[in-house]
Amino acid sequence: MRHGKYPFIIGFLAVPVALYGTFVVAAYVQTFQLSFTSFRGFGAATYVGLDNFVRLWDDSQFWQALRNHAVLLIFLPLITIAIALVFAFLLNVGGGAKGGMQRGVWGSKFYRVVFFFPQLLALALVAVIFGRVYSPDGSGLINGLLNGGDDPILFLADQRWALWSILAVLIWQAVGFYVVLFSAGMGSVPQEIYEAAALDGATRVTLFFRVTIPLLWNTVQVAWVYLGIAAFDAFALVNIMTVDRGGPDGATMVLGMLIYRNIFDYSQYGYASAIGVVLFFLTLTFAALTLRVTRRDTVEM
């Protein structure tokens, strides 16, 4: 397959590269350009140098958003991966063995579909559902169950709870995807390895920590990057669920929300672009760092 390959390559890549060049690369270049201007959506964009970035440095909402991202960045991957690993393990291996084959718990096919379900639901529907779950009056699922609506917990309106409430929804939505992802990984672990471990007297817990996790490390790493990126986003959910879009008092503010509000509430296109530039570098730095830090020798199967 040597001679005459370039016509194919060029033909195959022309359209995607053109689309990418126009709608992504050029769009980013424009975001970078706008971030040095005081553009407000009409007229010419005035060059203001680094003013937007200086202003950002002094913006308390920006720092609040960064703190919220930090919380999400730690807990979203940690909790989601932990839950997903345990359940993927239960679904694939946890049910004990029969005829020499490790099997999942009873009904594991059913669970797989159930866990994946939240992934399929429209975000608007998720917001509606959890609006009811968190509702402060007696009709709210949690408050209704807890105490019939007396002395309710104001999940979304209380600064102490708001971010955690959003985090719970993010986890609820994400877990299924990772259960399926890890299940696929576990499915490719040869039965002989489990058998050998069993011969050595391994319990479920030992199997989980000493066989499954090391063999799945690559997949866990990928999951970590995905979830970290989700933690940098979280904008859509914050936009439609939280009090005062990012409130109360900035408790759920994220960078995406800040960009959105600067565009639509204040018409500060230049400033919004500057936040976009920061977000761009933060996300890429995170991804590169995660891949580097979590790199370790993978176990060959």
């Binding site: 397959m1 390959k5 194919f8 390559i9 033909g11 195959f12 890549l13 359209v15 995607p16 990418y20 709608f23 050029a26 769009a27 980013y28 424009q30 359940f87 679904l91 946890g94 049910g95 004990g96 063995a97 718990v105 009873w106 009904g107 669970y111 579909v113 159930v114 379900f117 992934q119 399929l120 639901l121 429209a122 975000l123 608007a124 529907l125 917001a127 559902i129 009811r132 007696g138 009709s139 699922l141 399926v180 992802l181 696929a184 499915g187 007297g201 391994a202 319990t203 479920r204 030992t206 000493r210 690559n218 997949t219 565009i263 296109y269 976009g276 977000l279 996300t283 890429l284 991804a287």
Partner: protein, 293 residues
């Protein structure tokens, strides 16, 4: 293995060695499974429950677990609401356009990346992956300005193109995994048998990537169908999709939970049906893209 020594390896009647045969462990594992499944599914069940209840029953103080008098009224009033049907059709058009377009464009690109080595291949892969990482909202302004310039705002085509670009990276990356999984010997055998390069792609690789195409399309489908920020920014209400419709009505109507839930169910239905149809393929689809670096 330096594990616990609490249990000795036990051999069952056939002489096979097993793990986790203790009754207690199995019960605990199954109980966990059930509890977690309930947590995952309960909110969904609750939406269904509300959607089939007549209006007065929805607001009852004592919530009931089944509608006393199930009704389709909520679905009917959702369908009669302004722009609902328009936005339903718009959403489908835009989604089908984006998913189909991304599959065609993405398949060719994946083919080039998986089957040829060429100058700049690594850089291309890096750019594709890197850009996928950054939240879309950062691109909202330039995309809008661009579409405005070519007069594609307030049009389904403009939004469709943006969605296509949005789901393209994942499509390329996942299909690349599938194509890389097809042994090159098959291509070579076909070439030896007298196929030209085109025929190899068309008759060998494309059919073998079939399940991959299906699995890949679900992700694009979910993305495009559920997107609302772009379409809400670019288009007026009669040219939006159901997601944008739902959000607008969520704020406008306040307490009309029944029709809203019904609308939300209709919105989620296509994705759920699509998923149930192809769910067998889905695990392979995801691992192909994610794991085989």
């Amino acid at each position: 293995m330096a594990g616990k020594k609490g249990r000795k390896p036990s051999a069952d009647e056939q002489g096979t060695v097993t793990v986790g045969r203790s009754g207690l462990g199995t019960v605990v594992a199954n109980t966990f499974g059930v509890i977690f499944a309930v947590v995952m599914i309960f909110p969904v069940y609750w939406v269904l429950n509300t959607a089939f209840k007549p209006a007065p029953e929805v607001l009852q103080f004592e919530p009931s677990f089944f509608p006393e008098a199930p009704t389709f009224d909520n679905f009917i009033s959702a369908f009669n609401a302004p722009y609902f049907v328009d936005d339903l059709i718009n959403g489908m058009l835009v989604t089908v356009f984006a998913v189909f377009g991304a599959l065609v464009v993405g398949f060719l690109a994946a083919l080039a990346i998986a089957r040829f080595s060429f100058y700049g291949r690594k850089a291309l892969i890096l750019i594709i992956l890197a850009v996928q990482l950054v939240p879309l909202v950062a691109l909202l302004i330039p995309l809008f300005l661009m579409m405005q310039k070519v007069q594609l705002t307030n049009s389904l085509i403009g939004v469709g193109i943006v969605y296509l670009v949005l789901i393209l990276p994942y499509t390329v990356w996942t299909l690349r995994g599938f194509i890389a999984g097809i042994p090159r010997e098959l291509d070579e055998a076909a070439l030896v048998d007298g196929c030209n390069r085109w025929q190899t792609f068309w008759r060998i690789i494309l059919p073998l990537t079939g399940p991959g195409l299906v699995a890949t399309s679900i992700y694009g489908f979910i993305q495009a169908w559920n997107e609302f920020i772009i379409i809400n920014t670019f288009n007026s209400p009669e040219k939006q999709n159901l997601m944008a419709w739902l959000l607008q009505n969520q704020t406008n109507r306040g307490t009309a939970w029944g029709p809203l839930m019904a609308g939300a169910i209709i919105t989620s239905l296509p994705v759920v049906v699509f998923f149930l149809l192809i769910q067998r393929n889905i695990a392979t689809g995801m691992t192909a893209g994610a794991v085989k670096g």
